[in-house]
Symmetry: C2
Subunit: 228 residues, 2 copies
């Protein structure tokens, strides 16, 4: 049986977990491990690089490779398009466009997007339904300057989905908070005002500039789960 890089990764991980190589310890160099396992150095390198990307090892040239002392645990969140999220839960998906207008955006919005005060943005309000019941209330500010012409009819295609395929997105961030439902949210989602809602706020940057700021208010009981 010949060893592959994944097996070497597994063995290294086992030694770390078994405390053969305790947190903070310097582990043998690639050359030494390559000889021990009877593989080329590149194979060991592949394995160690993967572990470093996972945050288990810290590697520095000349200084060697050591076991992370306080391993920062990383969880990966996969953010699907809402439609697929709903379908993945075995529910039917539908949505309603509640508002679509262009107006001068409030200062907090322009500030978060890095646009000048008073910029005119497109405002969309979309209610996503799962199994016919309110799932997410999406309120979104779109920067019309970076949208391809012609922009579609967002009553027919959800902005959430259209953007992913039609605007080159570069980077963004997402923040989760818990907030009491506003009276508007309570009314639209059919819940009591003040109910605790999980809110995700997303900003997205494209190649041509800031694209959108979206606030997704999830129905009560919603869980956002990640694995690590």
């Amino acid at each position: 049986m010949t060893l592959g890089w994944e097996e070497i990764r597994a063995e290294v991980l086992r030694r770390i977990r078994a405390r053969d190589w305790p947190p903070g310890a310097l582990i043998p160099g690639e050359e030494a491990l390559a000889e021990e396992f009877g593989v080329a150095r590149a194979t060991v390198n592949r394995a160690l690089t993967a572990l470093a990307e996972a945050g288990v090892l810290e590697r520095r040239k000349r200084a060697g490779t050591r076991v992370a002392a306080l391993p920062v645990r990383r969880a990966r969140l996969e953010i699907p398009v809402i439609r697929l999220d709903v379908l993945g839960r075995g529910l039917t998906y539908d949505f309603r466009l509640l508002a679509d207008r262009e107006e001068a955006a409030p200062v907090p919005v322009t500030a978060r997007l890095g646009l000048p005060e008073g910029a005119r943005l497109r405002y969309l309000e979309t209610l996503h339904l799962a199994g016919g019941r309110p799932f997410v209330l999406e309120t979104r500010w779109l920067n019309p300057a970076v949208l391809p012409d012609p922009a579609p009819d967002f009553a027919a295609v959800s902005a959430n989905e259209w953007l992913v395929t039609h605007v080159p997105l570069v980077s963004g961030d997402i923040a989760f908070t818990a907030e009491p439902a506003s009276s508007r949210e309570a009314e639209v989602m059919g819940i009591a005002p003040g109910t605790a809602l999980l809110v995700a706020e997303r900003t997205t940057q494209g190649t041509l500039g800031p694209v959108t700021l979206a606030r997704l208010a999830h129905a009560p009981g919603h869980r956002v789960t990640m694995t690590f």
Copy 2:
């Protein structure tokens, strides 16, 4: 100027974003790209593998490499130890152990951990303080069976931190929800009952079995942010 794999990754990404290679399209094979860029196939492979890991490309043997049609956007959450999180915000950190006892855990707890009903677990309640004010209320069930002997005094070392360095952790998951503050939470954190709280629920598995289930109720206004 000679090209490295990161530059090739950047160029491929540029072509994808420029719609030279639109979503769903098959891109040239490694061999062809290697020739075009004047590098070895392994270098192209390194670049494309990285992009595939990032979710931008989908690769299958024989079928070739194509641009992801609905790119799943992935955000990475780095979960630091609470102390470092607080210090990173420029606040002083402190904590108080409010409860520490062993008792038969409720069924939802044992079920989530995959332990038999009625298992006796150690229950810890810790209030984490940032700048002297309540930051996170942590309620944690610990599986004593997998803890090294002797377990430390959790009034002196936060369980949150001790576990990371003393128990080999393998995998786990984290879920965020928004919940109204219970009367206990309201009392301990000095807020009104029913206030919307961002709650993180974490389960962790170790090499020897399930380790812990922790519920972290964050003070109002708390944001969990990720970048992608």
